[in-house]
Symmetry: C2
Subunit: 186 residues, 2 copies
């Protein structure tokens, strides 16, 4: 554990700052000063500020995958991810309103993809449509889900995750299975 302690500290201090001020007001100097480490140590772990954001996204994607493998429930994945986001509401707001909105979108798309592909796969285990069809269907819902979340963020993350889940549930329930069955008939 002690190994990656400094790396973790840098990440945490960065997110902390991102919760206070926009991305372009944060400097590497700021971070290393607050962490009481040498500036070189920062470069030992990260190339630049951008790569911290990248790492955070990567690890969050991993977390969601782990969550799905544990629960096999997209609902729980969503709540889990949403709760994490709400915790760092302002940080996400600052990423959303900076040059990194693109990265955020890619990240959401990736998360949604991971959940949806696994979810459709789970359902398809019984229906046994072709893998190709399953992928197409998953991708269809992936963008829909991503877009929904993006709107939720743009709207200030006001709605409770559970509320959105219900709404999405109405769009999912039965529909995915139905789509899979239909694609078998074609």
């Amino acid at each position: 554990m002690a190994q990656q302690y400094t790396r973790k500290m840098i990440r945490e201090v960065f997110v902390e700052m991102l919760n206070e001020k926009p991305f372009d007001k944060i400097t590497i100097k700021n971070i290393v000063t607050k962490c009481e480490i040498n500036r070189k140590t920062f470069y030992y772990y990260y190339e630049n500020l951008y790569s911290i954001i990248h790492e955070i996204f990567e690890s969050e994607i991993e977390n969601v995958i782990i969550k799905y493998n544990e629960t096999h429930s997209w609902e729980e994945c969503f709540i889990f991810a949403a709760r994490t986001s709400i915790k760092n509401k302002r940080a996400i707001y600052h990423i959303f309103n900076s040059v990194h909105r693109e990265e955020l979108e890619r990240y959401l798309y990736s998360i949604a993809g991971n959940v949806m592909f696994r979810y459709v796969e789970d359902i398809n285990r019984e229906i046994k449509a072709s893998e190709e069809d399953a992928k197409i269907i998953a991708r269809f819902y992936q963008s829909a889900l991503t877009n929904m979340v993006l709107h939720w963020i743009a709207d200030g993350m006001k709605d409770e995750p559970e509320k959105i889940i219900k709404r999405i549930g109405l769009l999912f329930d039965g529909n995915i299975a139905l789509s899979l069955k239909r694609s078998k008939e074609i």
Copy 2:
């Protein structure tokens, strides 16, 4: 800061364990496993378990001295030390009931000494008895105070520190000044 992180962690985990189980049930292996560090790293900082206790005592003595230099009040020093002790009640209980009672006594004696010598010195600044006399008087109260605290610990640290302070205060107030004055007359 990051430098001494591991050392601090070892200390904290040790105290944590000492709050759970007696000293002789704690092994170095236990600690390094819980800290997720290499056993060698332990030896990098400490010789053995005993030296952690020693270090803790040393640093606590320092803290009390700092406290006295800030406040010039033995009462506040006492409350400060007692509160720290109560926080780790069971740890102290386990030290008290192990081969390290002796070390604990020496530590208390040292703390009491530091406080009393400074306190008597402060009072003597006005009275101006000889340094020699001041030391004798301080040493007299030092053992008395130590013994009182030892009994407090043996009794399970039940009494509130403030209560004991009042009791000690009755023995101190005026008496020290009086003793100093008398020793001048001899």
